[in-house]
Point group: C3
Chain length 368, copies 3
Amino acid sequence: MALLTADLPLIDGHCHAITVAPLDDAAFELWCTEANEPPAPGTSYLDSRVGLALRRWCAPVLDLPAHAPVEEYLRRRRRLGPDEVATRLLRAANLSALLVDTGPVAGGLVDRHVLGTLAEAPTHAVVRLELLAEQVALGTDAARFAAAFAVALDEAVPGAVATKSIAAYRHGLDLDPARPEPHEVSAAAARWLRDGGRLTDPVLLRHLLWSAVDAGLPIQLHTGFGDRDAALARADPALLQPFCEATLPYGVPLVLLHCYPYHRQAGWLAQVYPHVHADLGLTVPHLGARATAVLGEFLELAPFGKLLYSSDAYGLPELYLIAAAQLRHSLGLVLAEAVDDGAASAADARRIAEQIGAGNAARVYRLG
Amino acid sequence: MALLTADLPLIDGHCHAITVAPLDDAAFELWCTEANEPPAPGTSYLDSRVGLALRRWCAPVLDLPAHAPVEEYLRRRRRLGPDEVATRLLRAANLSALLVDTGPVAGGLVDRHVLGTLAEAPTHAVVRLELLAEQVALGTDAARFAAAFAVALDEAVPGAVATKSIAAYRHGLDLDPARPEPHEVSAAAARWLRDGGRLTDPVLLRHLLWSAVDAGLPIQLHTGFGDRDAALARADPALLQPFCEATLPYGVPLVLLHCYPYHRQAGWLAQVYPHVHADLGLTVPHLGARATAVLGEFLELAPFGKLLYSSDAYGLPELYLIAAAQLRHSLGLVLAEAVDDGAASAADARRIAEQIGAGNAARVYRLG
Amino acid sequence: MALLTADLPLIDGHCHAITVAPLDDAAFELWCTEANEPPAPGTSYLDSRVGLALRRWCAPVLDLPAHAPVEEYLRRRRRLGPDEVATRLLRAANLSALLVDTGPVAGGLVDRHVLGTLAEAPTHAVVRLELLAEQVALGTDAARFAAAFAVALDEAVPGAVATKSIAAYRHGLDLDPARPEPHEVSAAAARWLRDGGRLTDPVLLRHLLWSAVDAGLPIQLHTGFGDRDAALARADPALLQPFCEATLPYGVPLVLLHCYPYHRQAGWLAQVYPHVHADLGLTVPHLGARATAVLGEFLELAPFGKLLYSSDAYGLPELYLIAAAQLRHSLGLVLAEAVDDGAASAADARRIAEQIGAGNAARVYRLG
């Protein structure tokens, strides 16, 4: 089976910009983790599954033996320089297309087009709803917020293949599923514009989600783990069930990102709601070789046409490659186990792998 | 170990009526899933673990090679006709007894006795509490509801081996564990009889549960996944802990059905509450070959005397066979792994399999 | 890999006193489970993963073949006598050090020093916060409670390496994370001292936790499963996230005990909060051979420097040995799988094992 998936076509259905700035060792280490504080004394974020996966999948691309020590890897990385490293790693990921979250492009991050050139693959934009609303808020008032946001979203949609919500970070997924009334939206906008800060108001978050439903593009929703900004217990995708129910008649695809450690709940939602899908991003790279076990769990209740590959890579080109290489390896193992057990034919296994790797994304995001 | 469990005696501790009506392909596909909407464009509910299991376990019984395409299977199925298909599949399941939920027997479904004849096995009735209450409600008023329900339950109990609650569907398992007072019951009944509709009032659901405790038969409780009618997050069996605590002095067995993806929580309840048991139904057939992994998880905290086989098959005779064949296969693998690891002797493994397959059910339901 | 971990140095980071009183069979069985009621008719708590592990790991130490029947094991145990049994089993556990919870030492339990002599290993004290408060309460009034508790904790700290909270048992982990005000503490103390009973008041439980933060020793917190005294759903360590957030600036290590079945949530906390760690105690012995699967899950998001071995053994010397032998065996299997898969080098595997077995505990608890 390793042969069956070694060259599996992959569409990276959710990823972010990378940095091509020189990084010191501490900064590199922080990009490899969901933490944002220095590691505990005596520990390293790279002494972890993601660190092992880095040394396994990336070291050979930089001409080092697999499992070379982290220090040696970082030395080699500096010698080659960020552009060479990014080029090598992204091409080794061998991606057919990238869907890039248009989130904040801070210092040293390259934009989607540079990323596409480095990866030698077409890219598509994913519109981040909360960011768009925050940009709109700078130039409007409460009474005009909803209209201005609608205009901005209308303008963004033709150039994009999906929208994305991080309501899980800003409030939690335990949202009232109902579409808010216009007067509720303007009252909430008035409070927000008066008080400032990030968009965390649940009425406004719901308004963004329902605007995205109207826009008609597939909606990617952060669920499950991420950085410590989100309350994990409130990011359980099962909490989204009322929203899944409310949006069922509209048919707009919902793509649950990450999901772990609630991926079995996500798999159930993906079975019983035709418009709900589950995405493997973040989980695959951060779990490294344990992605094999967790992929097995993703492939339980979810129909195979509902699972989508992505990396959720951010910042480091390494994360693109780790995710892609690990997915090809782990999915190969999961499906080989099914074939060996007599549970599936080799032809079925290959077909399932192709769907998860790229076929489902091409269909759901209408990549043509 | 495959040999050890290939002919494992199985009591199907929770199942439903089947349909012997001719089914078109779309209807067949919907019977194979917990969804009740047509599949998303470009996907099929049979491109899934249950679909793979269908092609593996059922195709050979209809004279096709394992893994024959679904279309071929459906063609063959139509050619043989529903009666021949049901007879072959149910006999291939090779069941020692069936406990049949006396839930709604809608169009085309055959009753328990026909099912038993087809399966060549004795059947026993499981009284569905909410359905019984809804039937009672048609002929009574609020003041007499409790008494009328008590009479109906008294009449049903001698012909049954268990009662069953779907409070998880109607309200959620986050119920007040206390037995409601008579005046609360009659007030709730008055509201229900006035407003009509399904029984969803938590006071009445609790009254039914406590009536079942008084009746003394084991109580089967839906927990975990099912169709989208239930809020998954409110079907976590851990939410039943207060009810387990309240009913401990009565000793009436509680059998937690399905449990997935909260089966580890159910396993803990089955360890610390002597009267609590966990049932594998719905989980085994819907997970197909992944039942092996999940059975391993069921066999963690729960004492082996507390785990019970069932299929929760409904509608299709295929689901009876998938569940039975998969359980025999997967339990064999789980126990073979334990033997190979040195964790259990082969004699222990066989004894554990026999308990889970039939021994525990015979004891808990007093099948004699 | 078995060879790699067969002699792995282990620090038992959380354990309890043992009994050396003669035990009848029923009492022995109850010590092997988290249940506190007689088993259901026809079942045994030893017909379980812990029972299989007992027969595998302990029987040979008492000169019986592995997998000898429980009855034979108990007979042999009685013949040898409690002191000989305890000596043999504890020495076979081959521990480098023991961190002993100074909880209630009831009838027949031996204290920490006897335990250390039997195990031929140094011991260290873990101060149980709620017990200390209950002892303080006997000799003070509400106005002086906080000061008296502070004095008692100050006195206990120099002789201890950690404090421990069972707030999960007494209230649940859904605690307000804020440090309570002095007047709130004295009002809560007044209510408690007036009403008596165990310390369950959330204000006082929070006061104890914040006092422990001030004391500066690592804080062990019960999370996940245990006996039925705790509400499982309220022991999810994800509920502790606000407390993790609030205590981050203080740097005092938090060690989440047990965690199962929420160990993946604990692993995420251990990744994103530098001061948070996850401990394997209770889970490893009670899951027996399934510890292999669950260890794999612990080794997902948590950096390897954040996972700590313990047994949480209590009462029976058998539990010390089951935990130690199973950890050495299962961790060996998990890491061998990583090596076989190409995910880690053998040197990495050994280093990770040594960290989890003893290195991390030595660093976190400053055992020198």
